[in-house]
Symmetry: C2
Subunit: 143 residues, 2 copies
DNA sequence: ATGAAAATGAAAGTTAATATCATTTAAGGA
DNA sequence: TCCTTAAATGATATTAACTTTCATTTTCAT
């Protein structure tokens, strides 16, 4: 989805909930939609403050919470103690592999693993709603 | 491994590092070795204080850190904001499925998934050192 | 334009983890 | 057994990320 379309989705979500539009939130969202990393609130705040220095941390926090609610952002925790956000991926769900030396993050999709997860759960009588799969190891540069 | 053997492993780790034995640490470790759940520091502290009411949180914290270091305990984070510890499993590594309604935790082993993880990483040039796989969904009672 | 309701930003509060520090304790050697 | 010294303890303080509060500002339907 293009950033412009994402803005439209956000607008309708805001309308549907009876919320109001603000320049701060729009700018934070636009800035986030342009990212293609796994960005922390502090990082996003810095980015946003380059153009709009008086935006507050709480507004960035609340905006990302809103984007997560309406599915445009995904919150991730890679174990470094900070929540990171990424844009809803074009091509569906993916999982992550993180370099334990340089913190590089790579993404992968693996339908077989997904299927085996569902089966493993079924054996225990569980139904899977979501999951978290993170591999930790060394990237090509750090191996 | 029996609790008694675990105590022996802990003793040798303590000796090797030039640390000293204490009754508090021994009792915390013994208490932990008897658990078969995924226990938080607060829960373990309560358990310990039933017999030894004056043991401090910090000592439990430091003991579990030590047990993690010497491989007798595994620290887990299931996304509820608290670190939980479990005994080193008899039968090797396992992953978890957590009920999003009642918080029940089930465990499973799946060599196929493990193998596919390694292969997925390899395709990206990564080598896997460890991983985290958690399924979230509904348990049989909550489905 | 007006007024109700939402949004903002600064500041305060929360919570789990971690560090500090005065005091106590363990353990090897005199 | 008595010292000595380094480690352990427990109370308390600090940290860090998140979350809430609140006075003020802004939006937007009327
Ligand atoms: Mn990603
Ligand atoms: Mn387990
Ligand atoms: Zn790397
Ligand atoms: Zn359940």
């Amino acid at each position: 989805m293009q950033p412009a379309n994402k803005m439209a989705v956000l607008k309708s979500f805001i309308d549907a909930k009876g919320l109001k539009s603000t320049s701060q939130r729009d700018f934070i969202a636009e800035t986030f939609f342009k990212t293609n990393t796994h960005i922390s609130l502090d990082e996003l705040l810095s980015k946003v403050r380059k153009k709009t220095p008086n935006i507050g941390y709480a507004t960035v926090y609340r905006t990302m919470k809103l984007l997560s609610e309406c599915g445009l952002a995904i919150a991730r925790q890679f174990g470094d103690g900070q929540t990171r956000y990424e844009n809803l991926p074009e091509d569906g769900h993916h999982d992550h592999i993180i370099c334990i030396k340089c913190a590089k993050i790579a993404e992968f999709q693996n339908p077989k693993i997904e299927q085996l997860q569902i089966e493993a759960a079924k054996k225990l009588g569980f139904t899977v709603v979501n999951h978290k799969l993170e591999l930790y190891g060394y990237c090509p540069d750090c191996a």
